[in-house]
Symmetry: C2
Subunit: 221 residues, 2 copies
């Protein structure tokens, strides 16, 4: 479903060059659950953004579902949960979750029902009319997850989505994510700092080296 | 050093009331290292903000070093690392770390040397001239820690400061924090979702109940 060939990304910053990604080759099969591990600053978020066409590679080719990353993004083929929740302050929680459905033209009643279902999944029923800033850090992250899952995407890109949660909420959502994955056959690329979480969730773990980010190891689970 | 009596905080939001904190009594001795644990949304960040006078309690009294929380804040008696890094986008990393020193009138050369020392501590040497948005999530969190430590405050308030880090960086910074704590005798109030981290670092662990946030348990370590 995803293929990266010779992907390199260099940023121009702070008066010098930052080599975020260096000659990455990576294949992710349809329906796989791949976790990405590696030290802070090694390029995990950048790699996810390259797959999601939020960042253009300096060199190399990215294909998602047989087309370019850009085409996949424009066709809205994936849901993404960012490392910082990225919610819209001026919308309520419900309207934040409904946004991808709205963009896809889903009718109002159906949108509302789906948003309600997602809120229940992430255990935030009752917070529909709140604004993002009125929620705790972990609650905002859960809304981001709800939004990413809302339109049942075939591909899910998730950047440390459970890091801000206590152990009980985290384990609950790990099990829910696994259940959704099994029942929908979606492909998931999941960044985490927890080795145990990666092993629990994934079909394969990809380990990245410190900057410049390369793939150090690929471990089938 | 810190005393809370009957502290209650209620927010008006989303068409209803949110009881974030309910009748909290808490004493933190000078030089203690207290960790705060509890489920997402239970009131930990709110409690930290009440201590730091960033939020006024609905009821109750807060004293920090024998004066009101407000007086302590105005006298700049503490350093704070927030759950979302809260860096200033328009300043470089170095100038972000220098800010509290600047506010305290520390001379330029001394400020610069101290900022450099802090950057080295959090292992971000070489990123002085970058902008916050050019850093990864974990790197931004480390800058927030560097900034909180910069002026060697007597009281440190830290809200999940290590959550965005891989295990190696996290353990390294845990040891560094412990070392600084022992050598400076500073008082630390530390929110974390990791039970093992709380036990490793603290003299005492305070466990909060789910909303409305109360103190469920206090465990000397
Ligand atoms: N400005 C606000 N307006 C309305 N409600 C708020 C506000 N700030 C916090 N709350 C509510 O108070 C409760 C406690 O929030 P708080 O941020 O303290 O939780 P927390 O324990 O830090 O959670 P987490 O572990 O997810 O960071 C939550 O239900 C939240 O929605
Ligand atoms: N827009 C940008 N401009 C300049 N440099 C950038 C930019 N985005 C990322 N970088 C740099 O690229 C490197 C990789 O960043 P990335 O965010 O991918 O790391 P990460 O593996 O996600 O780290 P973390 O675990 O801390 O989230 C870092 O050194 C970062 O400073
Ligand atoms: Mg990242
Ligand atoms: Mg919090």
């Amino acid at each position: 479903a995803i293929s990266l060939r010779n992907v390199t990304k260099t940023f121009d910053a702070g008066g010098g060059l930052v080599h975020a990604l260096d000659d990455i080759d990576l294949d992710i099969a349809p329906g796989a659950f791949v976790s990405l591990l590696g030290p802070s600053g090694c390029g995990k978020s950048t790699l996810l953004r390259v797959i999601g066409d939020l960042v253009k590679p300096t060199e190399g080719v990215v294909e998602v579902n047989g087309r370019s990353a850009e085409a996949a993004r424009k066709a809205r083929e994936y849901g993404m949960a960012f490392q910082a929740p990225g919610l819209m302050d001026w919308r309520t929680i419900r309207r934040n979750i409904e946004l991808p459905l709205q963009v896809q033209g889903v009718p109002r009643n159906e949108r509302r029902a789906r948003a309600e279902e997602m809120l229940e999944l992430v255990r935030l029923t009752g917070f529909e009319n709140h604004r993002p800033r009125q929620l705790s850090g972990g609650m905002q992250q859960r809304v981001a997850i709800a939004r990413a899952l809302a339109f049942q995407p075939k591909l899910l890109l998730m950047d440390e989505p459970l890091g801000a949660l206590d152990e009980m909420n985290r384990e609950y959502l790990q099990r829910e994510l696994l259940r959704i994955w099994r029942s929908t056959g979606t492909t998931i690329v999941f960044v985490t700092h927890s080795v145990s979480e990666a092993v629990f969730l994934s079909t394969e773990v990809v380990v990245m080296s410190p900057r410049p980010g390369r793939i150090a190891d690929r471990i089938p689970i």
